[in-house]
């Protein structure tokens, strides 16, 4: 924005680069520590320090974290939690994104009396602290027979995720000219045809944003997982927390870190592969529409 020519390397620019690089290190070190610790043996941890490389690279902690570490009473590792998370996240992401797309389409292109008011009410839903809905939700899930089940968690994530997905799609579709819809209506297309033939083909970028945002949110959620799930439906975040904060036995930081890596990998992977969409989601989701 300031200048189109590339600047020469003056001392002040060296300082700028040095500061930026230092900040990079600060942001990277925790994950670096997490990674090397997860490859250490228990002995390594006692003899070495945070930044020391493992004496011998060992996968022992990873395998223990995956299949035999204690998460409370049971000692089966986090693999069960991992699959629970997957079983919960995928349908919740798909349903909430699908609903969001339809809602966004209606709220931008088929506005009716009251639709703007509803959108404001929905937006407010993005802002409430979820603590105010926990108790009634728990009681409702119980009455629906969904307490402590994966479908129950999916429902919860859809209810509280749909505000965000609707916001994404609505803001995206507002940018699509109304004339396109008018032209299609005169061409004889109706509500469904316009959505399927005109809007959806345009929507790949916003679907990416939405998928990634929802995946990250739902995978990383802890509150709903810990409140609405128990035993064999708990997600990975709950499993990790149980493992890290279990008070039985000796603390094994290498296993903790391996489990943390396992919990972090899916979202990190998504971030590395599609970071552009993640950033777009973050900024558009919070700056407002």
């Amino acid at each position: 924005m300031l200048d189109s020519t590339r600047k020469a390397l003056t001392p002040s620019r060296v300082l700028v680069y040095a500061t930026l690089l230092l900040a990079c290190l600060v942001y990277l070190i925790p994950v670096f520590v997490m990674l090397i610790t997860s490859f250490k043996t228990t002995g390594d941890i006692r003899t070495g320090n945070l930044m020391s490389m493992p004496e011998s690279w060992s996968l022992e902690a990873w395998s223990k974290a995956w299949s035999s570490a204690c998460t409370g009473v049971e000692c089966n590792g986090v693999n069960g939690f991992f699959w629970n998370s997957l079983k919960m996240t995928i349908p919740a992401v798909l349903i909430s994104t699908g609903l969001g797309a339809i809602n966004g389409y209606v709220l931008s292109k088929w506005r009716f009396r009251g639709s703007d008011l509803f959108f404001s009410m929905l937006l407010f839903g993005c802002f409430i602290p979820f603590q105010v809905v926990l108790l009634p939700m728990a009681s409702t899930l119980g009455k629906l027979g969904l307490a402590n089940t994966t479908p129950g968690l999916v429902l919860v994530h859809v209810v509280y995720g749909v505000a965000f997905t609707t916001l994404f799609f609505r803001n995206f579709y507002v940018g699509v000219p109304d004339a396109l819809v008018k032209a299609a209506r005169l061409d004889g297309a109706g509500f469904v045809t316009i959505f399927v033939r005109i809007m959806l083909p345009l929507s790949t970028p916003i679907f990416m944003v939405c998928f990634i945002w929802q995946f990250t949110q739902i995978w990383n959620d802890f509150l709903f997982g810990v409140v609405f799930a128990s035993g064999d439906s708990q997600p990975i975040t709950v499993g990790l927390n149980n493992l890290v904060n279990t008070s039985t036995g000796v603390k094994e930081y290498n296993v903790d870190m391996a489990a943390a890596m396992i919990a972090a990998l899916p979202t990190l992977l998504v971030y590395i592969l599609a970071g552009k969409y993640f950033i777009r989601g973050l900024t558009s989701g919070s700056v407002k529409g």
Partner: protein, 371 residues
């Protein structure tokens, strides 16, 4: 091709205090090219959307070939529209864009292809058929948008400022092209524009709309030469008509008005007998630049001609003419002079006024008083 009737159309948005359309009545004949013209926000686009069925109206009726379509869905009205932004479907090729409406209407595949080819040939866009709209220039997009409308062979075509996004040269070309298409296909067209030159050149009839009211409906010649209101007079024509305040003087049978130049020179112009009721009062004389010229030998002897000396303040050569600015009765007045007739800015020149083309308004009022 069809006849379109608009009967007493009124539209109020929500709880708005002001009506957007205040009772529009227009009969559009089959094959007629009607232009809706007016300033932005005058309601012409709302009227257009109402005809298309994209907006509902509060009161009144819309009839196509006598059939009431007031509450019909857009798709059931058999109307095609060309949008200002073209509104081409960005994910479809030109071919798919043109074919979309036909596909939805379940036309057989081979017929669609024939139709696409016909339209493409008509508009000379055959080489573009497999491109996406984003890869087309503005002019090409415009042609595709027209092609999409033509392919459906609808009863009525609506054009919503279709040329306003083109550069000046292309706009003139496309204007000619649209006129040629209309003459060739004889379609019924309703065309919205705010460009009065487009209106003059294209229309069979012009409807001038302001603040949701139909001010005048007539042929371009009628609207130009005999504007119904002061607003119509000033809106159509460029440079605009000048309005010169003057007193109605003289006596019955010889009514006249006094014009005074900036230097104090005076002259009299003959006024029509219709103005006798306004004797002694101030009125506004409306006159277009081309009727204040250098003295023309062939007109000199007519009774409605008056001449006088006026100081020319500014001259603007446009090529075919020189537009000259002077002051008469304290008002700026534009004159159109022959470029071979040399006048120098700051110098007095003899000007001839053709009063047979003048129109008259009550001072400060909209309505004509000599019609």
């Amino acid at each position: 091709m069809a006849q379109l009737q608009l009967k007493g159309i009124r539209k109020t948005y929500g709880n708005a205090a002001q009506e957007t359309l205040k009772g529009i009545d227009i009969n559009i004949e089959s094959g007629e090219f009607l232009i809706l013209v007016g300033p932005s926000g005058c309601g012409k686009s709302t009227l257009m959307n109402s005809i298309a069925g994209l907006e509902s109206i509060t009161e009144g009726g819309i009839y196509i070939d006598g059939e009431d379509v007031t509450h019909a869905e857009p798709k059931d009205r058999d109307i095609a529209m060309v949008f200002q932004s073209y509104a081409l479907y960005p994910t479809m090729t030109v071919r798919e864009n043109i074919a979309f409406g036909l596909k939805i209407r379940r036309m057989p595949k081979n017929e669609i292809e024939t139709e696409v080819q016909r339209v493409a040939k008509l508009l000379q866009i055959e080489p573009l058929l497999d491109r996406k709209p984003a890869k087309l220039s503005g002019g090409q997009q415009q042609r595709v948008a027209m092609g999409r409308a033509l392919a459906r062979r609808p009863k009525i075509y609506l054009f919503d400022e279709p040329l306003s996004n083109l550069d000046a040269k292309l706009r003139v070309e496309m204007r000619t092209e649209i006129k040629r298409l209309h003459q060739r296909l004889g379609t019924t067209i309703v065309y919205v524009t705010h460009d009065q030159i487009e209106a003059m050149t294209l229309a069979d009839r012009i409807a001038v709309i302001k603040d949701g009211e139909l001010l005048q409906l007539g042929t371009p010649k009628e609207v130009y030469e005999s504007p119904a209101t002061r607003y119509v007079a000033s809106f159509i024509g460029s440079p605009a008509m000048s309005f010169i305040p003057l007193q109605v003087e003289g006596e019955a049978g010889n009514l006249r008005g006094r014009l005074k130049s900036a230097d104090g020179d005076e002259m009299f112009v003959p006024l029509p007998e219709k103005l006798s009721a306004w004797h002694g009062r101030e009125i506004h004389l409306g006159i277009r630049p081309e009727h204040i010229t250098q003295p023309l030998a062939h007109k000199q002897d007519q009774a409605t001609i008056a001449s006088g000396i006026f100081r020319i303040e500014v001259t603007e050569p446009t090529g075919p003419d020189v537009m000259a600015l002077t002051h008469i009765n304290g008002t700026e007045v534009h004159c159109r002079l022959d470029p071979d007739h040399t006048v120098a800015p700051g110098q007095p020149a003899e000007l001839m006024i053709d009063m047979s083309r003048a129109v008259f308004f009550e001072a400060g009022q909209e309505a004509r008083i000599d019609a």
